[in-house]
């Protein structure tokens, strides 16, 4: 009897309060902006924060209020920008190319000189505090995988040689890894890029050669001998201008004495 009474009393109270709340929810329902509902639905929903807002719905709200530009969402890319333009009723120039992250470094413990053994916190920024990390090259990859931890889609992996790889199909181009990386060796490149200069060292040739076997020494062979490669050497580092003519990149890659070019 006691148990039954207790059960019934609590059950009835729960039911009455539950139905009361359900009724109140209908009565006090807040109408949402029709545009906002559509916008939130079309968002990728990764909440990566690449746009600079707290999440997808925060960005959608800012766009609806006219406080943010369309096209800041890199996971959504051109298709989303187009759709958002349709919802807001404005024309959008949707010619942006999808961007993906790439580690501009081919170094590992075998080819890069190690100055000491780092035995601290398993984090690139912590290692960078300790004299810029164990690598003799202070601008290369530290291999501790801080980028893997921040990646919202798990596109970044590490192989047995501790080399970091970004899966271009999975990468949404939010740029989180580029901001967490202390050496800024992680950069965004166009998804269609065929070749990348996989080095980030701005030191002069002799210093680079002492530190790493696969570093760019700034010899300018790619720039001078293959003018249509799109390569430009600045501060002793070759960078590819992807907007320019890059048809000669294959030839430039073959000519590179340090084999810095990486084919994708």
């Amino acid at each position: 009897m006691g148990i039954l009474a207790a059960f019934l009393v609590i059950a009835i109270m729960g039911l009455v309060l539950g139905f009361g709340l359900a009724f109140a929810d209908k009565k006090f329902a807040v109408e949402k902006d029709e545009k906002l509902i559509q916008m939130e639905k079309s968002m990728p929903g990764a909440n990566c924060g690449g746009c600079g807002f707290a999440g997808c719905s925060a960005y959608a709200e800012a766009v609806c209020k006219g406080e943010a530009e369309i096209g800041l969402c890199s996971p959504g890319g051109a298709a989303l920008a187009q759709k958002m333009g349709e919802i807001m009723g404005v024309a959008v120039d949707a010619t942006q190319e999808r961007k993906v992250a790439f580690v501009h470094c081919r170094g590992n413990a075998d080819v890069t000189v190690q100055q000491f053994i780092y035995d601290g916190i398993d984090d690139c920024n912590a290692a960078a505090i300790a004299q810029g990390g164990p690598n003799a090259c202070k601008e290369g990859c530290l291999h501790l995988g801080s980028c893997m931890k921040v990646c919202p889609v798990g596109a970044i992996s590490r192989d047995e040689k501790m080399m970091i790889h970004v899966d271009p199909d999975k990468c949404i181009g939010c740029g989180k890894c580029t901001t967490v990386c202390p050496t800024m060796v992680m950069k965004l490149i166009p998804a269609s890029a065929q070749y990348v200069v996989a080095c980030n060292n701005h030191e002069m040739g002799a210093k680079v050669k002492k530190a790493c076997q696969v570093g760019c020494i700034g010899c300018k062979i790619c720039q001078v001998k293959v003018p249509d490669s799109g390569c430009k050497v600045e501060n002793f580092l070759s960078t590819i201008d992807y907007a320019a003519d890059t048809s000669g990149l294959e030839k430039a890659a073959a000519l590179c004495p340090q084999k810095c070019f990486e084919k994708r």
């Binding site: 009474a5 207790a6 609590i10 109270m13 539950g18 709340l21 006090f28």
Partner: protein, 197 residues
């Protein structure tokens, strides 16, 4: 005890925040500006008042007749949680800016021990329905008084040259301690001397 006696007891002598140290979480969390502090105080006052009446009814019409006094805590919390949900819906509808300012602290009124505290104190003190109503309102008003005073102090503190180590919450805690000391001056003899018992 007379109704005025109950009001004075729970607003000053037994102030829920500064004397009984209940409901400290929103006291620090929402006291950064006076507008949202007042909103929080009124929301809590509404919940304590209505919860006092409803829990009185639950206690005397459901629990006591069936001999289920041991279900007091769970049934009171059930009532309080439902009421807080209702308040949340109303505030979301009426004032989106207040809803945003209160943030997570609004649903957290559910777990504010001041609300459950007054409901249980009403039962322990054998208050009747009207006395419970006054008890609940007084508890809420005492909460509002404390949080509004605190928010005004903190607004002033923001403009003062406070040392870096004390900036923000630390100096707020120290101020809260001093306020609590001041409230200790309200003694139970106040009610007896005023012949309000």
């Amino acid at each position: 005890m007379s109704y005025i006696g109950i009001l004075i007891t729970y607003i000053f002598i037994q102030n829920f925040i500064l004397v009984q140290f209940m409901g400290l979480c929103p006291f620090i969390g929402v006291s950064k500006n006076s507008e949202s502090a007042l909103g929080m105080g009124l929301a809590v006052t509404f919940v304590t008042t209505v919860a006092s009446v409803v829990t009185y009814m639950v206690q005397h019409f459901l629990l006591v007749p069936f001999g289920l006094e041991y279900l007091q805590t769970i049934s009171f919390i059930l009532v309080i949680a439902a009421l807080v949900q209702l308040v949340e819906m109303v505030i979301r509808k009426m004032s989106p800016s207040l809803y945003k300012a209160l943030g997570i602290f609004l649903p957290l009124i559910t777990t504010n021990c001041a609300v459950l505290g007054i409901a249980i104190l009403n039962v322990q003190n054998d208050y009747n329905l009207v006395e419970s109503l006054f008890g609940g309102a007084a508890a809420g008003l005492g909460f509002t008084l404390a949080i509004v005073l605190m928010s005004n102090i903190r607004e002033k503190l923001d403009l003062l040259p406070v040392r870096k180590v004390f900036k923000g919450v630390p100096i707020a805690f120290i101020s809260a301690g001093l306020m609590a000391l001041a409230f200790m001056a309200f003694d139970a003899s106040l009610v007896t001397n005023l012949h309000l018992v």
